[in-house]
């Protein structure tokens, strides 16, 4: 083939900027002189941003209470001790009293937090059936294998919702009571339990199976609840818009947390007198203590938090910005020193010329 290939006429290459590798280019030289302003600018900007973040994070109030009851100090210890080693644990209630000296600016969010709870564990995380949760009738009857061993009940019925995540649904419940005057009656603070899940989760991802004769219970007929549950999924809430797969507590739980210490939104306080926040006074949180975490060293916390434009309380980002900013400034100064010395050399060189 050589003879046909070489039969071409002129072999002269094209003389274009691209083929000759002469494209116009910016050629930054990484040296102290160049890096100097960069470091200072970045440093200043970061410190500014960091200060802003720090203050806005500090303006967020948080109130948290560990009600696991391991220490024996709180009244939940009884429940904790009672529930030890028994499954399902007996119903138990306890309460957390606290008082607010001033208005807790709203909107106030009520979270529960679990620690040492590995929702991100791979085998746990995959143990779900999104198709079933999206209300697909066929998937309801035939959960995917990933749900095993919570795929079929002992009786052979398909479990709805299947999988380990659903099975381990957090089932403590809280109610908040406010005592305006000392010694006065406790008034229940309305907790908004509806808007706690992602809009898309509640409206798109999680759907109940089509109703049978207008009844959700019938739609779930032939399925079994997860073994740990004491009631079927369609009885999670009396509110028809908050029961079944679209029960918001359930939806929130199903969004598995990234880290072993995590919060989940329980309720928002924004109704009635409490739309501006929690007024000062004494409060009581009634806790239905069901969820056993002490076995694996976990903790349960209840948290009231206000939020700002950047979400919940998070002092870290502000600090991080401040630290990185000051590091930038510091290196900037080092650069400056280097640059000044180097500049001298440069000048000498130029004088030489």
């Amino acid at each position: 083939m050589t003879w046909s290939a070489t039969a071409r006429g002129a072999h002269q290459p094209d003389n274009t900027a691209f083929t000759q590798q002469r494209l116009p280019a910016w050629q930054p030289l990484l040296s102290a002189g160049i890096a100097l302003p960069l470091f200072f600018c970045a440093g200043l900007a970061f410190i500014g941003l960091g200060l802003g973040l720090y203050y806005s994070s500090n303006s967020i109030k948080e109130l948290e209470y560990d009600y696991t009851g391991g220490s024996g100090l709180s009244n939940c210890s009884v429940c904790a001790a009672a529930g030890q080693g028994r499954a399902p644990p007996p119903r138990c209630s306890c309460a957390w009293y606290f008082s607010l000296p001033e208005l807790f600016h709203g909107p106030v969010y009520l979270y529960y937090e679990l620690t040492n709870f590995y929702q991100n564990n791979r085998r746990y995380g995959v143990s779900r059936d999104d198709a079933q949760l999206s209300g697909l009738p066929s998937a309801l009857r035939h959960p995917v294998n990933e749900c095993a061993p919570y795929q079929l009940s002992a009786a052979g019925l398909p479990i709805a919702p299947c999988g380990a995540i659903a099975n381990s649904l957090f089932n403590d419940s809280f109610s908040l009571w406010h005592q305006r005057q000392p010694g006065g009656p406790y008034v229940e603070v309305p907790l908004d339990r509806t808007g706690i899940a992602w809009w898309t989760d509640y409206h798109i991802k999680f759907r109940n199976p089509p109703l049978v004769n207008g009844s959700l219970a019938l739609a779930f007929q032939g399925t079994a609840p997860p073994p740990n549950w004491d009631r079927p999924v369609y009885e999670l809430s009396p509110d028809p818009n908050n029961t079944g797969f679209i029960n918001q507590d359930f939806v929130v739980w199903m969004r598995t947390a990234a880290l072993p210490t995590f919060r989940k939104l329980y309720a928002r306080i924004r109704q009635g007198n409490y739309s501006a926040g929690l007024p000062r006074g004494a409060y009581r949180v009634n806790i239905t203590y069901n969820y056993p975490v002490r076995a694996f060293g976990g903790h349960k916390l209840i948290i009231f938090s206000s939020i700002s434009w950047m979400g919940g309380k998070n002092p870290f980002l502000g600090i991080a910005y401040l630290v990185v900013g000051s590091l930038c400034i510091l290196t900037g100064f080092v650069m400056l020193v280097v640059y000044i010395r180097y500049q001298d050399q440069n000048d000498e060189d130029e004088e030489d010329e």
Binding site: A32, F46, N120, V126, S168, T200
Partner: protein
């Protein structure tokens, strides 16, 4: 196969026959039988069918149907086989297997990490890309195959009984093909008929081996006699030949006629596929090998695949990554096992039992986790790395090919990259092994000097003319016609005018730097006339010699009809006459006229052929025939029957009546039948002149197999001894007075490399004696001379002549000329008859015929009478010294391995700056193994003792270092230049023995340059292999000829010069450059770029993957080592492939760390590649550490930012992915040195692509991608300020240290490369205008004594200082380099010094440079002496290197006096020629250039 009749023909002793049979049987498997396709199928009417064995065999192979047809199929695949075959090939790559394995692992439910289908995607993508590439390549191959297959040619058709047009692919073995002039030969064809009356055919083999001269092919004996059209229908013979093989130079076989006669077939009968028919109207032949069995295709092995050094290192690092992966996975597995154990017994809510409800044992969990971890962390082994590297390399090759500065206008050729995957090796070369002839030199021979019977003719005018050519070469503008300004020439006869005209034309056309059209014309011109540039065609004769030549011409014309015409000449004149006759006829030059096809209007005096038989001899040499010039029928018959040139065939007496009659009919066609052998000279001359003068373009052209031959023939023509015609049996020479002399050519004993000589045996037309003219290497010929007695005067005279000639030969060698000795022998008829007997026996021998012919030639070439010697110059190629200097500065060690003799080689080495006059040369010539060992020890001792001694000298001699034009770039001892080593072939053989090779290498390593002379191709490759294996160095071999092939193949990088001597070197090479000087740009610019780009890209790849995997790994600490990933599977799988691949590819292809002009002015920047600065173990691990740090930062900033929040897995993981992407791009930004719009676009595209894909993916389906469910995550994140805040801070924090250290290092401890960059940045204008000025700026931090070419011109320190102090300077340092000013005053200052130098130099001469068994340590100049007047010092210093030559003083005076003017002239032109130098060197010449100039005296 019918050999019974053949055997019966000549009865043999039974034993011998049996032996032959046995041999035959053994060879049966290796032969092929070809019969005409026109015959009906054999078997039935086959005459030998009775022999059962024969019939069976014939049935098997007779039909030739099973043999390959002529279809060319270079494609690898068919439509059906593509998929399986391609996949199979791709799975040869281990990485692909690995990735497929991992993807398949995903299908196991217990361990899968991703959606199984998705996991296959990247592997499939990579496989698909590769497959597509293969498919495209295959398709383009298919297209070119198709094109070739559908070329047409004339094939004889059985049905139509005539030649019909067929496609090439339809040709089958056994077909008859008719080819016309200028057609390409479609298959290997046995030549059966030619339109040429002599049965000759000329082919051009340029397509095959690149040689542009015409090769002669001959019709098979027995067919050449056919006068009428050859009729294929009557062809019934069977051809038996070798199986197809790839040996282009060999073809053996025999043709067996119907009547049982056999005739041998040789390579002269075979037309090879791919060659072109030239000078012949039409030929007919039978196809022997077709298609892929042709020799051309068997020789065509596609591109080579080598693995580059960088890739080897990378593979090693990939293994490290594998190890890291396994470690991480193991760690995770153990961690997970413990975690499971811990939480299982506690009945944790998040613990998931086995699917059957039983709890999972920790060990099983650990195993599962291990496998899953491998899947999750697979990214650590970069799947796209190999593909990316391939893409980058293809682009690099493209850019190298496209570089206009590597394009040679003269030959219209650019650099070819034949190996696609070792571009980056070009940036790491440490040793260059170069051939000399044709590589450093032009391989265009120019006749320079000669000596005849002891008298030297120096051809000064010729030297001046050559100097003028140089000048013309260097001038940019069209020169005025030079006719008038031509040097005075002796009277060259009546056609001088024509010559002048021709010369002025050629002067203009031969210019390297001229306009393109001119160059093209020149190249076209040179296409037609191989090896005949105008330079070698035009020789200005030496007036003295010319006079003598014409004198003897006149004398002979007078005395021609007397009994002994030569006796009337004095011995000297007789020698001169013989000398020129020998120059003219002792060769294989083919004479052609420019118009093609050649009109064979030759005068056919008589048909004489090489004598074939004793009978023939007797017949032809009977006295009666001497008087009659006419041919007798018998003479015709015999000569025709033995129609064969050169080493010939079996001797058979073709007493075939039919053939004889055909001959008779042919005879009358020959025109000049009546004129006798030496027709009236005056008439002939007049006629000739008349024919020639009106059409000067009718000038004859000489096509020679070697450039030396052409140069000699042209030289002889300049002395009006012109070769006008050469047939296989006669040579005609035209002389002005004698007219046309026709020599009967009896034998030609071709050149071979063992004899190193060639001879012709002729019958002299004037004396009717049988003469042998021998031309060969002086070492050979001088030993074969007739021993002469010292008794008589003649003998003493002869001795004197010989010693004088030997002196001149030495002188020529010292000047770097190639020497040839011309000798003659007169044979008496008896001697000849005796020799002929044995020669014919040798020719007819079937076994070791070559050996016997060799012996026979040796018998003939003895007792020679020395006529004279010639010195032919092989000019240095343009820019060779500069290139060598640059490469030196770049830290490359250059070894020259040449087959030439020591003196020539040393001189060329001086000329091209390889050796320097102020450095020591260690010469190693040993006679025996022991001597060699002793010498080596001695040298080693010497070299070692030198280095400590040199320390105190340091300060004193540092000045000198900065002056010396070239300094060892690797100057470990900057004080004194390390010595150079010269070793000859025999000593090299000893030194390469196992026990000495270490010592030799150690010594060679200490030396600045090594010169191996008289080395064989095998030694060349052994040296390369030794350096490669023992020093673990990167080697590059460059050469142009077949003798360099082995060296080129052995070296890491083989470079072929696509020049004069065929294509073998190019075929074997990885890169082919048109000229040596392009090596500079290829290595220093492209090599550096390729290396730096690829090194950075590979490092970046490792960084990227490690960093990414790091993120996942840190997460394992927070998810119970359960191998879950916070990064969505899609991002995980496509991150490498899509989101982050483009910017790095763009950077890998386009990034230029240092601009080309800086690289060229600061060649030492090349060392970064040699030292593997950019990608070595250190940089690799630093890079990995940085990757680990960055992944820590990029993991923990989001971790802390989202700690204690309600973030779910992917809401947290997606910011991390985005952070990783930003970090990667910013990291790349720090590493990118050149930002073009392509880089910006690629980065922008990457970011855009990531967000687009993420948004679409997160919006597409709520439940489709188990196990991950990232629905609407990205959309939610985009509304979250924390996402932006983390994306801002994490990359900055991650890259802060890198940026800090880079910037700090850039300011405080800049590397050479960074300095180069600064240089380019700071003074772009300076670089462009006077390039050198900026180059002069000393790089800060660089040692002041660091040598550079520019530094050599002034004292170290900054250049501006030099300039300002230029005037005062010579006064300050009178002894030091006057180059910078180079004005007469300086010359004056240095004159006394120079004389000292001379004296000292002479006194320091150790006698006998070439005397064996002795180490010669020459220290010809020391620091103070060296820089003498530039123009004068050189010839002197060149003398220093001579040993004891009697003519020493004479030469020096001659050169000094006569050469001065031209040297100065030359130097100026040299300046213009090389702009770079001219701006820099006010007047001056580096001494070596001078040396070159002096060579033209």
């Amino acid at each position: 196969m019918e050999r019974e009749p053949a055997a019966a023909d000549e009865p043999r002793p039974p034993g011998r026959r049996r032996r032959r049979r046995r041999r035959r049987r053994r060879r049966e498997g290796r032969t092929r039988t070809v019969r005409s396709n026109l015959l009906p199928f054999p078997g039935a009417e086959d005459p030998t069918a009775s022999a059962a064995k024969g019939a069976r065999r014939l049935r098997r192979c007779g039909g030739t149907q099973h043999l390959a047809d002529n279809r060319l199929k270079t494609t690898k695949y068919t439509l059906l086989s593509f998929l399986p075959k391609n996949l199979f090939e791709q799975f040869h790559r281990l990485a692909n297997v690995y990735f497929v394995f991992i993807a398949l692992l995903n299908f196991v439910p217990a361990v899968n990490a991703f959606q199984p289908g998705l996991a296959l995607a990247p592997v499939l993508f990579i496989l698909a890309v590769t497959a597509f590439k293969d498919l495209w390549e295959d398709y383009s191959r298919h297209r070119s195959d198709h094109e070739i297959n559908h070329l047409g040619c004339l094939v004889f058709s059985r049905e139509e009984k005539q030649y019909v047009n067929r496609f090439w692919k339809e040709i089958r073995v056994g077909d008859f093909v008719r080819l016309r002039c200028n057609e390409i030969i479609p298959a290997d064809i046995l030549l059966l008929s030619s339109s040429d009356p002599d049965g000759l055919c000329h082919i051009e083999t340029a397509n095959l081996d690149g040689e542009t001269n015409l090769k002669r092919r001959q019709v098979v004996r027995g067919f050449s006699e056919l006068v009428s059209e050859f009729n294929p229908l009557t062809f019934t013979s069977v051809i038996e030949c070798e199986k197809p093989n790839d040996d282009l130079t060999r073809f053996r076989g025999c043709i067996i006629h119907d009547n049982g006669k056999k005739a041998g077939l040789y390579k002269e009968n075979l037309l090879l596929r791919g060659c072109t028919i030239r000078n012949t109207e039409a030929v007919v032949g039978i196809v022997i090998y077709a298609g892929h069995e042709t020799k051309a295709l068997l020789n065509n092995s596609g591109p080579r695949y080598k693995r580059s050094q960088l890739e080897r290192q990378m593979n090693c690092d990939v293994l490290w990554c594998v190890l890291l992966l396994v470690c991480m996975s193991l760690f995770s597995a153990v961690g997970h096992g413990l975690w499971v154990q811990r939480y299982q017994e506690k009945k944790s809510l998040f613990d998931v039992p086995e699917s059957d409800g039983t709890s999972l044992s920790p060990v099983t969990a650990a195993v599962y986790s291990f496998l899953t971890m491998i899947i999750v962390l697979q990214v650590l082994i970069p799947i796209s790395l190999y593909v990316s590297i391939e893409i980058v390399k293809v682009c690099q090759v493209y850019f190298i090919n496209q570089d206009t500065e590597l394009y040679d206008e003269e030959t219209d050729s650019q650099l070819q990259c034949r190996a696609l995957n070792i571009t980056e090796d070009l940036g790491q070369i440490q040793y260059i092994f170069s051939d000399k002839t044709g590589t450093l030199t032009e391989n265009k021979m120019v006749f320079r000097r000669c000596t005849v019977s002891g008298i030297e003719y120096s051809h000064d005018a010729n030297a001046q003319r050559l100097a003028r050519y140089q000048e013309a070469d260097s001038e940019e503008e069209e020169v005025v016609p030079r006719g008038g300004s031509l040097p005075q020439r002796g009277s060259t006869g009546s056609h001088q005018g024509i010559r002048v005209l021709h010369r002025s034309q050629s002067t203009r056309s031969h210019r390297r730097t001229g306009s393109r059209a001119e160059a093209k014309r020149a190249s076209m011109l040179s296409r037609h006339t191989a090896f005949s540039s105008p330079m070698e065609k035009d020789i200005t004769p030496d007036p003295k010699l010319l006079e003598k030549v014409s004198e003897c011409d006149r004398c002979l014309a007078f005395a021609r009809h007397q009994e002994h015409p030569l006796a009337h000449l004095s011995p000297e004149l007789s020698d001169i006459f013989d000398f020129f006759i020998a120059l003219t006829i002792c060769n294989t030059v083919v004479v052609t006229s420019p118009d093609q096809p050649r009109q064979k209007v030759r005068v056919r005096f008589e048909l004489k052929s090489p004598v074939k038989t004793i009978e023939d001899f007797l017949r032809r040499f009977t006295p009666s025939r001497l008087t009659s010039g006419c041919s007798s029928i018998a003479g015709v018959a015999t000569s025709k029957s033995a129609h064969k040139s050169g080493p010939s065939l079996l001797s058979t007496l073709a007493n075939d009546g039919a053939l004889l009659r055909l001959e008779e009919r042919l005879d009358p066609q020959a025109p000049g039948l009546t004129s006798n052998g030496y027709s009236s000279g005056a008439d002939g001359w007049a006629q000739h002149k008349a024919a020639r003068e009106p059409e000067p373009e009718q000038e004859l052209r000489y096509e020679a197999e070697s450039p030396d031959e052409a140069a000699l023939v042209y030289a002889a023509r300049a002395y009006s001894c012109a070769l006008v015609d050469r047939l296989h049996d006669q040579v005609s020479v035209e002389l002005p007075h004698l007219g046309r002399l026709t020599f009967e050519l009896l034998h030609t004993l071709g050149f071979d490399s063992i004899r190193k000589r060639m001879s012709v045996v002729i019958r002299h037309p004037l004396t009717d004696e049988i003469n042998v003219y021998t031309k060969g290497a002086d070492s050979m010929v001088m030993d074969l001379l007739l021993p002469c007695s010292t008794d008589d005067a003649r003998g003493r005279h002869q001795m004197k002549i010989r010693s004088k000639t030997q002196n001149y030969l030495n002188l020529y060698a010292v000047e770097g000329l190639r020497t040839l000795c011309i000798a003659k022998r007169v044979l008496s008829k008896e001697e000849y008859a005796c020799w002929l007997q044995s020669h014919l026996e040798a020719e007819s021998a079937l076994d070791n015929r070559e050996e016997l012919l060799f012996q026979s030639a040796i018998r003939l070439e003895t007792n020679l009478h020395l006529l004279g010697a010639t010195g032919i110059e092989d000019r240095l190629q343009d820019g060779v010294p500069e290139t060598i200097a640059k490469l030196r500065q770049a830290g490359l060690q250059i070894w020259v391995l040449t087959g030439d003799k020591q003196e020539t080689a040393i001189n060329i080495a001086y000329a091209c700056k390889l050796l320097d006059h102020d450095e020591e040369v260690i010469t190693l010539n040993a006679e025996s193994q022991e001597a060699c060992a002793a010498l080596l020890d001695q040298c080693l001792h010497y070299v070692q003792s030198r280095s400590p001694r040199s320390a105190p000298e340091k300060t004193a001699s540092s000045m000198r270092v900065s002056f010396s034009p070239v300094c060892p770039p690797s100057a470990t001892t900057t004080s004194s230049p390390s010595p150079s080593l010269v070793i000859d072939g025999r000593s090299l053989a000893y030194a390469l023995e196992k026990n000495l090779e270490d010592k030799f290498l150690f010594l060679a390593k200490q030396c600045r340059s090594v010169l191996c002379c008289r080395s064989t191709p095998l030694q060349k490759s052994m040296v390369v292999k030794l350096v490669r294996s023992k020093l673990k160095a990167m080697t590059l071999a460059i050469g142009d000829g077949a003798n360099d092939v082995s060296m080129i193949q052995v070296a890491d990088v083989g470079v072929g010069i696509s020049g004069q001597e065929g294509m073998q070197a190019v075929m074997a090479s990885d890169f082919a450059v048109p000229r040596f000087r392009y090596l500079e740009r290829l290595l220093i610019v492209h090599g550096h770029w390729c290396y730096s780009r690829l090194a950075n890209m590979v490092l970046y790849f490792f960084y990227k993957n490690t960093m990414f995997v790091g993120l996942l790994f840190w997460f394992q600490f927070y998810c119970g080592f359960s191998a879950s990933a916070m990064i969505d599977q899609w991002y995980l799988i496509f991150f490498n492939l899509l989101f982050s691949s483009l910017p790095q590819l763009v950077t890998g292809v386009l990034d230029k760390d240092v601009p080309a002009d800086v690289l060229l002015t600061e060649p030492q920047l090349y060392k970064s590649g040699q030292n593997r600065e950019e990608y070595g173990p250190r940089t690799f691990w630093l890079n990995m550490a940085d990757a680990a740090f960055q992944s820590l930062v990029c993991f923990f900033i989001p971790y802390l930012a989202y700690y204690d929040s309600d973030a779910d897995m992917f809401t947290w993981g997606t910011p991390i992915t985005a952070i990783a992407l930003f970090t990667f791009l910013l990291h790349l930004g720090i590493e990118t040195k050149t930002w073009t719009w392509l880089n910006w676009t690629a980065c922008g595209f990457s970011i855009l692509l990531f967000f687009t894909v993420a948004l679409i993916y997160n919006a597409s389906c709520a439940t489709c991608y188990p196990p991950s469910n990232p629905y609407w995550t990205m959309q939610t994140l985009m509304g979250d300020p924390v996402f932006y805040l983390t994306c801002l801070i994490a990359p900055v924090a991650a890259l802060l240290p890198r940026l800090f250290f880079k910037a700090l290092q850039g300011s405080l401890f800049p590397t050479q490369l960074q300095l180069g960059r600064q240089l380019a940045k700071r003074s772009p204008k300076k670089l462009r205008a006077p390039k050198e000025t900026s180059a002069q700026e000393r790089l800060p931090g660089e040692p002041r004594t660091e040598p550079s070419e520019q530094g050599s011109l002034g004292p170290s320190g900054s250049f501006s200082q030099d300039r300002s102090s230029q005037v005062a300077w010579p006064a300050q340092q009178p002894a030091c380099s006057p180059e910078a000013s180079g004005e007469p005053s300086v010359v004056d200052v240095s004159v006394p010094l120079r004389e000292d130098t001379l004296l000292e130099g002479l006194s320091s001469q150790t006698p006998g440079l070439s005397s064996p068994g002795e180490v010669i340590l020459e220290c010809p100049g020391d620091s103070k002496m060296k820089p003498t007047s530039a123009s004068r010092a050189a010839p002197l210093s060149s003398i220093f290197s001579l040993s004891s030559f009697s003519s020493l003083n004479w030469i020096s005076s001659l050169s000094l006096v006569s050469g001065l003017g031209s040297v100065l002239q030359f130097s100026r032109s040299g300046l213009q020629m090389d702009k770079q130098d001219s701006e820099f060197l006010p007047s001056p010449l580096p001494p070596d250039q001078n040396l070159q100039a002096t060579d033209y005296f």
